[in-house]
């Protein structure tokens, strides 16, 4: 059973998708690598600082509703059936 990835706002623009299903990812890091392989440079720019050294601090990731502390949470394990949501911080008020 694959995992489901839901994209919001700029991540939806970068991928052209609301959600996808993807298999064979053991943790969040490998998921992001697969997503960049699939969706290319536009998504990579949204996710990573230049040179891809680290994840931008404008990336929020929930795994089954739990916020992960990026970048430390990139090792968060993923299991079949998990739901991952990727969204930017919305800050204004």
């Amino acid at each position: 059973m694959p995992i489901t990835v839901k994209f919001f706002y700029n991540f939806r623009e970068a991928t052209g998708k609301d959600r996808i299903e993807i298999a064979g990812t053991k943790d969040v890091r490998s998921l992001l690598n697969k997503l960049v392989e699939r969706f290319g440079q536009k998504l990579a720019e949204q996710l990573y600082e230049p040179e891809r050294e680290k994840l931008r601090n404008t990336v929020n990731i929930l795994v089954n509703g739990h916020g992960i502390m990026t970048p430390h949470g990139l090792g968060t394990r993923l299991n079949d059936g998990d739901v991952v949501a990727i969204f930017p911080p919305v800050c204004g008020g």
């Binding site: 706002y9 601090n57 916020g67 911080p89 919305v90």
Partner: protein, 242 residues
């Protein structure tokens, strides 16, 4: 009281609302923290709905570039304090509501004291540093906190009830980078601020199902609402022990 029956008659005839719901609103004390794009519509709709006691908090003055979205403040209010500008309009909208205004910046030292006595606190802030302070103070007091945020055409909303669902730190564990200027359309803030008032009324009256354990994303460009489930982090530094 007869004029109050007339004033609120259209909402009192909503099934399940009635005089009992109106009395709950009248007995309630709500704090709106921040009188910008979110706090403007939230406080207006709460006052119109007949919340008995409203406290508004803001330390800033009205600027011309606020006026596309901060609908409580008008052209002639530029350079006035937001609380003074707001209390005049809110009190004129509904003189029977007790409104007090606090021209204060929310800090780690004063947050608990500023929020004391509130049944619900509404997030009208424009930065996560202060949102986290409000979240922490509300968790400490077991007080509901209605979070909202907007940018451009998009917004998000969730209702935090300590002990029953995740707090803001569970959902957004790290502080996003602070922006001094962010793009925003007034109507986006209007949508989210109105929904924050709706959540507050639901919490106070006990009607409906508040957005606890769910975050609602609004995308005005595609006219789309989507919610996702959010869960408590048992190791959350803020609410983990609650």
């Amino acid at each position: 009281m007869p004029s109050e029956f007339e004033r609120y008659s259209r909402q009192m005839i909503i099934r399940g609302f009635g005089e009992a719901g109106q009395r709950k609103l009248k007995a309630a004390h709500v704090i709106v923290a921040g009188l910008g794009g979110l706090g403007s519509p939230t406080s207006m709709y709460l006052v119109a709905a007949g919340v008995g006691h409203l406290t508004i908090i803001d330390a800033q003055r009205v600027e011309l570039n606020n006026l596309n979205r901060q609908v409580l403040h008008w052209h002639l209010d530029v350079k006035r304090s937001k609380v003074r500008s707001a209390i005049e309009k809110l009190q004129a909208m509904n003189p029977s509501v007790e409104i007090d205004a606090k021209l204060k910046k929310i800090t780690p030292k004063n947050a608990d004291g500023l929020l004391r006595g509130a049944d619900v606190v509404v997030d009208g802030m424009d930065n996560y540093r202060t949102r986290y302070l409000l979240n922490e103070a509300c968790v400490r007091a077991g007080r509901p906190f209605v979070h909202g945020a907007v940018e451009g055409f998009v917004g998000q909303l969730t209702t935090i009830v300590p002990g029953k669902g995740p707090c803001l730190r569970c959902i957004i564990p790290k502080e996003p980078p602070r922006k001094s200027v962010f793009p925003v359309l007034g109507t986006t803030a209007g949508v989210v601020g109105c929904l924050q008032a709706m959540e507050t009324i639901k919490l106070l009256t006990g009607i409906g199902r508040p957005l606890v354990g769910r975050i609602l994303f609004f995308d005005g460009e595609s006219a789309n609402f989507e919610e996702i489930e959010v869960r408590r982090n048992p190791n959350c530094p803020v609410c983990g022990g609650v």
